[in-house]
């Protein structure tokens, strides 16, 4: 990227089934809690400023909650308009719960609700965030690949690192959709057994993943903007590289390995591996990058796979780890006592791979 100035992470938020908020999630994760599937009930008082939250799709509610937490963590005023220049919201599934219900009413000829239709649009998250936080800059909705949920992160990073935006909000969210369970089961990638057993990324005994739901949010800021207001950054995103080779993951691995070949070894790697489909891409990639013995961190055993949601949660916790928080390592992982910063990976069998590099600010 031309004129890359990097982007500071000045605030993060996370909503998962093991905790509403980054602190609650982190403590539950450290404590070994495992809870996949839908977050129920989800009526947190944290949804301050969201009008009539029950009408909006679950993914949007999760995103609004995570975004507000990131906002506050960054020290931004919640009632000040245009505190960020741009919003980028990513999801793999969109508001599939609302669109499913609307579509079912169309098929059954039962008089579909206009509210369900309007709240099912794919930019409901970015639209609601702009409305509730009074943001008049660009507000974009992006669809991501299932296991590579980096589209919003890339655009937010490019906006800040290029100097086009002083401050950007990025959000990743996906909700749990019942109808997807048999789809993934038919594909042989969902694990069965007790709900108290999470996925086992990279383990020879891995048997697939569980579905969950989550949202993560980060405030990215230029060094100048952060310095002007005395913000305390957690980490600096230095690069996000990626490749797309539909149906040819081997070529995508080679392309990302070439793009990230000059990166110094990190202290932590947050892979997208979920005990199912991503390991076959990430193992050879990490091998090629000389990072096969780096400490590995994943929240997916604890909360399940939530696509763009877990991608953003991993970015948020990578920033916290770089900023000094301890994060649980995957069982069998090497210790995190060498290297600098963190890499966060996204890897989809469609041949889409992303790698974000975070360093101390």
């Amino acid at each position: 990227m031309r004129g890359n100035r990097g982007a500071l992470v000045t605030g993060v938020g996370a909503v998962t089934r093991i905790g509403v908020g980054r602190r609650a999630t982190l403590e539950a994760w450290r404590g070994g809690k495992i809870a996949t599937g839908p977050i129920e009930p989800f009526e947190p008082g944290e949804l301050e400023g969201v009008r009539d939250p029950r009408r909006i799709a679950k993914a949007v509610r999760l995103a609004a909650c995570a975004a507000l937490e990131a906002w506050r963590a960054a020290g931004l005023e919640t009632d000040a308009p245009d505190a960020v220049d741009a919003v980028f919201a990513a999801s793999a599934l969109g508001c599939l719960d609302h669109s499913r219900d609307f579509h079912a009413a169309v098929i059954r000829r039962t008089g579909p609700s206009p509210m369900l239709f309007t709240e099912s649009v794919l930019n409901a998250t970015s639209g609601h965030l702009a409305i509730e936080r009074r943001l008049h800059g660009g507000a974009h909705a992006l669809s991501t690949f299932l296991y590579d949920g980096f589209a919003a992160a890339r655009l937010a990073f490019e906006a800040v690192a290029s100097g086009r935006a002083q401050r950007a909000l990025l959000v990743g969210c996906d909700s749990w959709i019942a109808e997807l369970e048999p789809v993934f089961r038919n594909c042989g990638v969902l694990r069965g057994g007790s709900e108290g057993i999470g996925c086992l990324p990279f383990s020879p005994a891995r048997e697939g993943f569980r579905l969950g739901e989550a949202a993560g949010a980060l405030v990215l800021e230029s060094p100048q903007a952060a310095a002007r207001r005395g913000a305390r950054p957690l980490a600096r995103v230095t690069e996000i590289v990626g490749a797309l080779r539909p149906g040819e993951p081997g070529e995508a691995i080679a392309a990302v390995a070439a793009a990230a070949g000059g990166f110094p070894a990190p202290r932590w790697i947050f892979p997208s591996a979920n005990g199912g489909v991503c390991e076959a891409i990430e193992e050879p990639l990490l091998e090629r990058l000389g990072a096969a013995r780096t400490a590995r961190v994943s929240i997916k055993p604890a909360i399940g796979e939530a696509f763009a949601g877990t991608a953003a949660v991993h970015l948020a916790f990578a920033a916290l780890a770089v900023g000094g928080e301890s994060v649980p390592l995957l069982p069998g992982s090497p210790r995190a006592d060498e290297g600098e910063g963190a890499w966060v990976l996204g890897a989809d069998p469609a041949g889409s791979i992303s790698l974000a590099r975070l360093c101390p600010p």
């Binding site: 579509h103 309007t118 639209g127 409305i131 008049h136 974009h140 909705a141 041949g351």
Partner: protein
């Protein structure tokens, strides 16, 4: 001000037909492509008409499993192939690492999603047909298009509602300027779907009359479908391969209205901000604009909001500025609209005339000084056009296009 990005290829599939020349002819002839719905049964609905691409997918080439793809992908593939073909880049080159794809869509594969859901409701979880559910995910179209067209640079699937096509083009322009990409295939696509037909119908936004943008008798729009793509290149890249410039995307502006999920900001401030930013990005004053392709949905609120924005931006100059609105002719093509209508604006500059606005008969008296013509093309005096796209969520996008000199 940003560096202009060169247009080297254009492709379009709309209710006017498949290909640039079919669209050029029908657009300037003032044709209306609204017909009785054909791809689904409109019997349960008050409005029975929409604008579908004629002879599609029957006109798809045989082979390569094209018939199995979701209609959204089919539309995008045909428009994308035309744009690539016109650019001289071809469609059979090897992997292109810095050649990215930026796709705008509101629906993605919702038609496939409907097939899955119908089977699920009828047969339950055990008997449902699951493959279409994955095709319903919007990123699926991007993967299919990138794979079949061998575009291996960073891709985007943009879902900014009815501004998605314009946003995808604008974000591609930025990525080229930032050096992330050398070349982008950027545009939008959306298929006709009973889902959106029922949705917009439930909001009473569809008209049983003709679509009449900015008309005193306007009462809504018809739904349309289609796809359009531009091949965009940095000037250096286009020159290095000796590509012919077909013009420029000189500027891109965006804004969020932050007002309401579905209703426009009454004063048009979001639309105005997007147009002003596009001109600022292009380094051009409003007086340089020779043509505006309006979003013009023919709803009471949207047209009023857009008029107020144009009035403030152009002032008295609005009366001398030919404005066109094509939704009366091809319907509202949703995520494709920002791309299809940018192609129409590009055609207007190339033809040096603003296309007629089908359906328009008599201006709303509220729209003083607005210059539309429902029946004939109007000469354009200049090289710069704005193309507006606005959508649910308060998404506003405006593209500034510029014709080559001469």
């Amino acid at each position: 001000m940003g560096e202009p990005v060169t247009i080297t290829g254009v492709g379009v599939v709309s209710p006017f037909g498949v290909g640039l020349e079919a669209n050029r002819r029908a657009l300037f002839a003032g044709e209306c492509a609204v017909r009785d719905a054909r791809t689904f049964d409109p019997a349960p609905y008050r409005v029975k008409r929409c604008a579908e691409v004629p002879g599609f997918p029957e006109s798809l080439p045989e082979g390569k499993d094209l018939r199995r793809l979701d209609r959204a992908t089919q539309l995008g593939l045909v428009a994308g192939m035309e744009a690539l073909d016109r650019s001289g880049l071809g469609i059979t080159l090897g992997a292109r690492d810095r050649f990215g794809l930026c796709v705008g869509t509101t629906l993605g594969g919702m038609r496939s999603g409907g097939r899955f859901l119908a089977s699920y409701l009828e047969r339950g979880a055990e008997g449902a047909i699951y493959p279409p559910l994955l095709q319903a995910l919007p990123a699926h179209q991007t993967r299919d298009l990138a794979g079949r067209l061998r575009l291996h640079g960073p891709s985007l699937n943009v879902n900014d509602a009815c501004a998605a096509g314009a946003s995808a083009i604008g974000l591609a322009v930025r990525r080229i300027r930032d050096g992330v990409l050398d070349v982008a295939l950027a545009g939008g696509l959306d298929p006709m779907s009973e889902y959106t037909f029922a949705g917009f119908g439930s909001l009473n936004l569809l008209t049983a009359d003709a679509g009449r943008p900015f008309d005193r008798a306007r009462s809504g729009f018809h739904l349309g479908e289609g796809a359009a793509f531009f091949v965009l290149e940095s000037g250096a890249h286009a020159r290095s391969r000796g590509a012919k410039s077909l013009g420029e995307i000189a500027g891109y502006g965006e804004a969020a209205e932050a007002h309401h999920l579905t209703q426009p900001q009454p004063d048009g401030s979001g639309a105005e901000a997007a147009m002003r930013e596009a001109l600022l990005d292009a380094g051009l004053p409003a007086a340089e604009v020779a043509h505006v392709n309006a979003h013009g949905t023919a709803t009471i609120l949207n047209d009023r909001s857009e008029y107020r924005a144009m009035r403030r931006l152009f002032g008295e100059g609005l009366a001398r500025l030919p404005v066109s609105a094509s939704k009366g002719a091809v319907g509202h093509t949703l995520g494709a609209a920002g791309a299809i209508e940018a192609v129409f604006a590009w055609l207007a500059l190339e033809e040096r005339r603003a296309p007629p606005s089908a359906g328009f008969r008599e201006a709303d008296p509220e729209f003083e000084g607005l210059s539309l013509d429902g029946g004939r093309a109007v000469p354009i005096d200049g090289r710069v056009a704005l193309s507006n796209s606005f959508g649910f969520g308060g998404s506003c996008a405006s593209l500034c296009l510029r014709r080559e000199e001469g």
